[in-house]
Symmetry: D2
Subunit: 326 residues, 4 copies
Amino acid sequence: MKALVKESAAPGFKLKDVEEPRIREDEVLIRVRRAGVCGTDVHIYDWDAWAKGRCKPPFVVGHEFEGDRVTAEGHIVDGRCLLCRTGNSHVCPYTRIIGVDRDGCFAEYISMPATNVWHLADAISYDVGGIHDPMGNAFHTVLTAEIPGAIVLITGCGPIGIFAVGICRAAGASRIIATDVNDTRLALAKSMGANEAVHPEQAEKIVKDATGGLGADVVLEMSGVPAAIHQAFALVRVGGRVQMLGIPSKKVDFDLATEVIFKGLTIYGVVGRRMYQTWHQMTRFLLSGEFDPTPVITHRFPLAEADAAIAAIKSGEAGKVIFEIA
Amino acid sequence: MKALVKESAAPGFKLKDVEEPRIREDEVLIRVRRAGVCGTDVHIYDWDAWAKGRCKPPFVVGHEFEGDRVTAEGHIVDGRCLLCRTGNSHVCPYTRIIGVDRDGCFAEYISMPATNVWHLADAISYDVGGIHDPMGNAFHTVLTAEIPGAIVLITGCGPIGIFAVGICRAAGASRIIATDVNDTRLALAKSMGANEAVHPEQAEKIVKDATGGLGADVVLEMSGVPAAIHQAFALVRVGGRVQMLGIPSKKVDFDLATEVIFKGLTIYGVVGRRMYQTWHQMTRFLLSGEFDPTPVITHRFPLAEADAAIAAIKSGEAGKVIFEIA
Amino acid sequence: MKALVKESAAPGFKLKDVEEPRIREDEVLIRVRRAGVCGTDVHIYDWDAWAKGRCKPPFVVGHEFEGDRVTAEGHIVDGRCLLCRTGNSHVCPYTRIIGVDRDGCFAEYISMPATNVWHLADAISYDVGGIHDPMGNAFHTVLTAEIPGAIVLITGCGPIGIFAVGICRAAGASRIIATDVNDTRLALAKSMGANEAVHPEQAEKIVKDATGGLGADVVLEMSGVPAAIHQAFALVRVGGRVQMLGIPSKKVDFDLATEVIFKGLTIYGVVGRRMYQTWHQMTRFLLSGEFDPTPVITHRFPLAEADAAIAAIKSGEAGKVIFEIA
Amino acid sequence: MKALVKESAAPGFKLKDVEEPRIREDEVLIRVRRAGVCGTDVHIYDWDAWAKGRCKPPFVVGHEFEGDRVTAEGHIVDGRCLLCRTGNSHVCPYTRIIGVDRDGCFAEYISMPATNVWHLADAISYDVGGIHDPMGNAFHTVLTAEIPGAIVLITGCGPIGIFAVGICRAAGASRIIATDVNDTRLALAKSMGANEAVHPEQAEKIVKDATGGLGADVVLEMSGVPAAIHQAFALVRVGGRVQMLGIPSKKVDFDLATEVIFKGLTIYGVVGRRMYQTWHQMTRFLLSGEFDPTPVITHRFPLAEADAAIAAIKSGEAGKVIFEIA
């Protein structure tokens, strides 16, 4: 079968013919139809420091997909450790990720443990099926905060940030203020329901005006950019909550006293998706029609145009980029 | 001033001239413009068993109102007992209620402790200001359950039930099924956002179909009718939550084993409004435009037509009934 | 092998030779060493209305056990329904219970799905290993309430009630008041750490004196007796919490208005054990030495003396009754 | 009256005669008997950068005290802002602190708003009454985490850290590991119930051994020392919780990706005491005898020996230091 392979410890992907995956008794073979491209794939493509430390080529890349009317949780957990046994498998220390630690979904077929498969209703399109993984990150981030009635600041309008805008809107946020440096992304955030979608330097005045100077009840940090992170902690109100999903590429200098402790904040680090509470909530929001992520998908490529797909993401102009495989 | 007075231990109200209230240093005098009529007022009017046990005529009736661009929490709590000191003043054992335990708001003026006053933004109409108390009951009921993504059954479409429909809609419920025996009320529930608003005997099939036979995640029991209460417990899913606000007029025979314990339910008895978390949430929903209770107000009367107002409520056809006082 | 069998639709158990269980690939065969006798077993023995409606003889009875240094969760759930997938497998609608819906542990061997097995540390005795199931009910009941600093009333001092006394003590309850009609059980409750262990008619004064007249923060209803249930609701404070585990044998007449709603209570129906959060917590309490259930075990019998074991439970004088099998 | 005064913008306190405080109608005058000395007082004494930016001499120092059988919450909040109205007055933006923003308790008399006064039962000694404020910080830190059954690491054994050890012990922690660089403090931690009280470099092995390599469920960061903070985040398990109370004196370089986000942590910044939930819980633990802070009080001075009191704290050898005033 055709597959995008990380062939060696060097930049780039290669489209090549590989053997179809074999499955064990507790696995299923899925014919992939759509696959989402993620920032993680860009790291692997670029072969940056993180990728070098984590990945062992050769392997098939990709971890977001739809096929045979299912999608799947890409974190394969051991199911028997303390974390898994107590409802925290999203942080199972033995997690193996498809497209990172084993063969992924940028291919015609993928094998998945049956336990990780999530069935899609007929009403869910192939495209939307193919992006459940990053939508799930957004649902996890939003729905572990208390959103009904909240004034929410979202720093960073990559695809997950934009999804989060729509989920906050559906979940009863009173006001959603989104920031990014890119106008295309801000326009997407606006179309998904942000009351204001602005450049970071405009955020302070808007948040302060909306909250009587107090700050946002909840901040969703979706950028990983140090300046945005500091702004997140500056603009959350005392006693508020910061959900951290964006991954900074290096250390950040923190004034813990004034940025965290004296403000009495709660901070939550978001990893993956709650298995499978998040998946269930996501399905409910999609089927009710409260949340439609379709406008976020801005680019579609065949597997053969992987370089162009990666370039689209790097441009900072894209919403969600997907591969059309079958 | 003119006031509707419960003059003696007998049915009815009397419109008469009474002295204007005097205020203490920690109280404010408010010129009443609108006042909502509540089921409690009907009990006092009818002088039923509950009223006989609780009220000591003569006193001015009424506890929901707007005036001078404020409304107020009608539960006057002691502020210093254990409950008050630990964030539970809504169940303060020393609560005195305006229009029940002291003079109320069916009058041209009312005195209120300054601490109980809630300021209204310019965008809030007189009418909506006048019904914050029962809306608050609905907000308390809805927002202490986990609504985003939930399938919700609301049994009973009196004004508070209909408000709850609209709040569930705003707060991200996936599906809202409302029941009542009265078609006017069902139409109101539909207009506030219920996916289905049906007679009780139709509810089981709809809930089961919507939930794969499992039952609703959350049931809001708003009727106090024994048959509806049993249906609430029958149609909530295992591990689900029942919020109880409707007050049954007599004892109910419960099969605790099958209706509560084996289902692993959580049940919450709703009293008043959280002070003042509920008020803050309500204000947020109203100002954001997510929730507009205006369609629920179906009848308006002057104080002089109190008998007609009470009759409108008793007809079972009314949404919210209010007095226009100034 | 020898096993206690419910042979037909009539009272009693029969000790007889049966075939050893066969196991599937995902099951394990366990040589049983100790087995606890539960009230459920008494219902099956007596062949009462519940047993008639639920059980299909012949089958091997018993669901609490230790063997080969493991114990097991006796609720075999489907693992794939919505409840199981969202952390609520304790209320999985497809649950099958060992000793009720399939062969149980009053036998020399039992087969169990590997997923249900819970390993025991060397420090855990055979006896304590054999009663993890009912201890787990008690842990579930206690640790889903907020115990540190709480004044707790426990109505009913059967084995699970007595375990709950010790768990409340270990978990930081400020005061534990336990009730029962049997003095032997009250003595056991006292020995496990109850501040007061008294007959029901003495409870009101003690609770009121301990709480300034307000009532207990948390009540654990462990009896299923209607009078005790009403006392539970009478003696919990406004805004408090009632955990219901005891199963009433028939309907109970409730004044929902004054017993539940006006008090602003939260009620939780306890089913089984959280899988496997409860098991993990239980192991932590046992290994730290904070909680030692050994004194609760008052009677030991061989399988051949099943009638005597059942009689001991029915006497109302027993703590926990166990079979010594190997 | 005699009082310890911060007289001018320079190091030191001065014992001098000042006028007795006058009280308003909503205040009470309290004759001080005991007063605790806090790290904040040391900052004011030293006139460090924080003190220079916050305090306006002259004023009477001190914020922890007992007198006339009451103690008091030293944070005087406005009671009417959004935070105060929604149960978060501990982070009221309008807070004024006694001994910092207005005259404090290192004096023969202090005036306090009546709302801030907390009555002490006869069983509470003067000394223990005098240290409710810092004990309250410890109770707030401990009881907002989930302690029953938890393995807890406490980094920093100043008085609040040592109190936290005892509270964790009372609240059902399975194992308490405390760290400090000072052996006297470690001995105090041990005497209050720590299973292990060790130097920081020994903590990793102990925590890992106790948790199968996974890390502590909860870490209470009580030191403010950057190395300890990094250790806190290194030794908390994935999905765990870090409560931050210790105030770092400068910025800390954080690897948010590996220290917070990928671990899926929850972090909570602890400010003051929950008003008045924390005070109620503290009273319950003290009166039940579960928690006795007396051993933590190691030094007693008259007001005239303020320099010696400050020196005792700076030595790092002290537990709690108090003034005996009357």
